[in-house]
Amino acid sequence: MKRNVLIIGGGPAGIEAARRIRDYGHTPILIEKEARLGGHLAKWHKLFPDGESTEEVLTALTSDMEGIKWFTDTAIVSINRLKHLYVAIFSNGITVQADAILFATGFSLFPAEKKEEYGYGIYNNVVTNADLEHFFNTGNDPRIKDPKVIGFVHCVGSRDEKAGNRQCSKVCCATAVKQACEMKERYPDASIYCFYMDLRMFGRKYEDLYLNAQRKYGIFFVRGRVSEVSEDIEGRLVVKAEDTLAGKPLRITMDLLVLMAGMSPCIENPEIASMTGIHMGEDGFFMPRDLMLRPVESHSKGIFLAGAVTGPKTIPETLNEARAAAMAIDNYFKQKAE
């Protein structure tokens, strides 16, 4: 018997899960609130650690969408549970009956303007990691004008109780180092500084990336969190931090500051949680049934979770979770059939 699986969120997790669910012989219905599939990935340029092009990854993911019903520019209006079914109404007016729902709604990028002391939206040459990827993609950003001194600020809105995000966003350290190298390739004369609290290069080949950044690209690493940024008379940025390894306050004038905005829980999470009864952690991310043994199942029957919806994750981790979720959904149907 063919069953409908509603997949909410057309990022890498949603796409990959849809394909696998189709392969298990069910009918995936994928909805994405934005105009194109791909989520945050579609806005990125290259991926760490090897600089793989996001375009290629996305093309590979979406190359085979046969048998998948998907809608873009579509959001959820309501989800109601009937006995063994969920009835979902979309913003485009379509109503769907689903036997299972997979939430692959991912994360929201931390709004960097919330850290007012970093001057995003106030000073002319402060950008975010996402802005920089956009610049890599389009080659166009009025704020980036042949910078001589560039700074990367790690942990913007991550590991920060004051920003309401205690968790580490996991990917920013590697992203910052990757972006620093890319900037050095574009502007070989620029001096580039990374301001970090702890450099978390945890994955395979990440350490190589770090080593390359130091040896090949000559990126400088300062252990200290940027505390405030001001503008001098010429409009350059004066960045203040403590160089905690030297044990002294540090001041540097820069032409470009890149804020590594972290992963916040998706802003729609509270709404989804109240609609579906999914448990939300204290941090705002969804809680799976068991972090260790059942990481892709929610507490509500027939509702599954994959990707950054349960916390910051890298792309490979997200894709693996999508596959795991597809398998869990298939198992769920098999058990139901018995």
Binding site: K114, E116, E117, G119, A163, E228
Partner: protein, 607 residues
């Protein structure tokens, strides 16, 4: 009218008499203690105020309005106002009329305390006169007034929500004894007078009671047991009074002239502070007022419990409460007897020993002009002090500069290259002397600049500049007032947009300095102003206050949420505040965009 007993005495008056003497001695000792503990110059101030007809007039007015009529309570809550004033004024009138009766009919007994109180027991009516029945009528009338108040009090104790109070204080055992004896006094009086109304006379209340008793008993006037009970209730109340919240009745009589003489709290539990501590009626208005009471555990940190702990000399607990307080001042503003809750706590903080002395000698080496940088446009000279927080809220100083530039005002940035703190945080931590070092340095810098106007954008700095700096000849002005003034004069032109603003009164600016209207007027020039749930002097602290020393980040967060809910009651598009600390605190947690007052003006200024 004649005396029933030649001796003019019965043993039942003893409990009352002993209690009365006890209270009088206690109060006399307390009065002497307070006056001795008050500093000499304050004491002279008090004596002088007592011969000043203007202040004395105010004293008399306050005694009547506050102690008897509870005018403040009336304004806030009619039922509570009636409850308190009916008991206080009714009882007062019973005593006064009792004395009038004694004076009229048996002046030779006028010197006895108990005679006016138990008048109806000792007197027998032979013939009814108009004067007599009028007085009897008045006595019964005021007894009825008091009884109605007592009934309300009983309802309030069990159903405080009916009276518009969300929470009431937890009573101590002695408070309970005091409370129950107070409740008992007047019904017992009614019964006692009812027994003797047949001989002693009575009116519309006591006479019917007497009929009832007479129908059951043959000679009800012999039932002295009721008079005993009445006297014991009075005696019990008087004996426990000094140890209960009812001490506020005599203490407030003393507090009013001291307050009107301009005396301030100097020590945590001596002198004026002692008068304030005993004047606290434990009414619990501060419970609902205190922002910390969003947490149930926070209730224990409110002023009423602080007063209780200080009275009990539980210094560690009192200090813990004092250190927690946000110093937002809301409880003082709402307090029916104006207890200076923040001053009391500050006095305790000041006495704490800190082993590491502060040393600001490094400021002496600093040249006065080193931190400032001038931006010249021409016109009026203004010195702008952005304050230490400004580097974390760059939008504020940027916006202020934009407005000043557009208005064509010549200004100097006083702390462009480093800030000498205004001293308010040290002051709030009880480090008064240390704060002076910073204040002196800032004074030097300000004086040397030669600017006639000191413009301040931080509410915290503004308060200390206004209150504690002695900057004669220099106008200290907060940017809300200054920009409103500029707009009113036409020096800046503003666009009006279709945006709904809600204005948050920062504690230091509103309750602290009384600035409520200027920012509101200016905001109505640029958009629509919607009211918050509670605002102006009842505005709720953002939770970020420097006043609290021990409040944890999590506890502060809950206060912030509460304050934001209050502000967004009328779904505004923007929350506007005029203090960088409030802005920082709100913007962490608010879903509605939080902007600084200067930013709103700068965004809407026509260049």
């Amino acid at each position: 009218m004649r005396e029933r007993f030649i001796s003019g005495f019965d043993h039942f008056v003893l409990p009352f008499m002993l209690g009365m003497i006890f209270v009088l001695v206690w109060c006399a000792v307390g009065l002497i203690k307070v006056m001795v503990q008050i500093e000499r110059k304050d004491r002279i101030k008090v004596y002088k105020s007592l011969i000043n007809p203007k202040i004395m007039g105010k004293n008399i007015r306050d005694w009547f309005c506050d102690c008897l009529f509870h005018v403040k309570l009336w304004k806030r809550n009619k039922v509570l106002g009636y409850m308190h004033s009916s008991i206080a004024f009714g009882w007062f009138m019973l005593i006064v009329i009792g004395h009038i009766e004694t004076f009229l009919y048996i002046p030779e007994r006028g010197g006895l305390f108990y005679y006016p109180i138990f008048f109806r027991y000792f007197m027998a009516v032979e013939s009814t006169t108009l004067r007599g029945s009028l007085l009897f009528f008045l006595m019964d009338f005021f007894l009825l007034v008091v009884l109605s108040g007592i009934i309300l009090a009983i309802i309030k104790r069990f159903r405080s929500k009916l009276m518009g109070m969300r929470r009431t204080t937890k009573l101590t055992l002695l408070d309970r004894i005091g409370l129950y004896s107070l409740w008992a006094i007047f019904p017992l009086r009614l019964i006692a007078e009812g027994f003797t109304a047949g001989v002693g006379g009575g009116s519309f209340l006591t006479v019917p009671v007497n009929w009832v008793f007479a129908s059951i008993l043959s000679k009800p006037e012999n039932f002295t047991i009721a008079w005993w009970a009445y006297s014991i209730a009075l005696g019990t109340f008087m004996f426990v009074l000094p140890f209960t919240r009812y001490m506020h009745i005599p203490a407030e009589i003393l507090l009013i002239p001291l307050k009107n003489a301009g005396i301030k709290v100097r020590r945590p539990r001596k002198g004026y502070a002692l008068a304030e501590l005993y004047s606290c009626p434990s009414c619990g208005v501060c419970l609902d007022a205190c922002p910390m009471s969003v947490d149930k555990a926070g209730l224990k940190n409110t002023t009423v419990y602080y007063v209780r702990q200080v009275k009990r000399r539980n210094e560690p607990r009192a200090l813990a409460i004092a250190d927690k307080c946000l110093m937002c001042g809301k409880c003082s503003v709402l307090c029916p007897i104006d207890i200076s809750a923040t001053d009391l706590r500050l006095a305790l903080r000041k006495r704490q020993p800190y082993n590491i002395g502060h040393d600001f000698s490094y400021l002496d080496k600093l040249p006065n002009g080193a931190l400032s940088s001038a931006v010249s446009v021409g016109g009026e000279k203004v010195l702008y002090y952005a304050g230490c927080m400004s580097s974390l809220t760059p939008m504020v100083s940027q916006s202020v500069q934009k407005v000043l530039t557009t208005a064509g005002i010549e200004f100097t940035l006083m702390d462009e290259n480093g800030t000498v703190c205004c001293g308010r945080p040290l002051l709030l931590s009880g480090r008064t002397e240390e704060a002076k070092a910073l204040m002196e340095k800032n004074k030097e810098i300000i004086r040397e600049s030669g600017a006639p106007i000191l413009l301040v954008s931080c509410a915290i700095c503004y308060r200390i500049f206004k209150e504690d700096y002695d900057l004669e000849g220099i106008q200290v002005i907060h940017y809300t007032e200054y920009f409103e003034q500029l707009a009113a004069e036409g020096a800046i032109k503003l666009n009006k947009q279709k945006l709904k603003y809600v204005y948050h009164d920062p504690c230091e600016l509103g309750r602290g300095c009384g600035i409520y209207d200027a920012p509101r007027k200016a905001l109505t020039r640029v958009g629509d102003l919607v009211p918050a749930g509670k605002e102006r002097k009842e505005s709720i602290c953002c939770g970020g206050s420097l006043g609290s020393l021990t409040l944890s980040h999590e506890e502060r967060g809950r206060i912030t949420d509460h304050s934001i809910r209050n502000l967004t009651a009328n779904s505004p598009d923007r929350i506007v505040t005029a203090c960088p600390l409030c802005m920082k605190t709100f913007s962490r947690q608010s879903e509605v965009k939080v902007v600084d007052f200067a930013q709103v003006i700068a965004e809407n200024i026509i260049e």
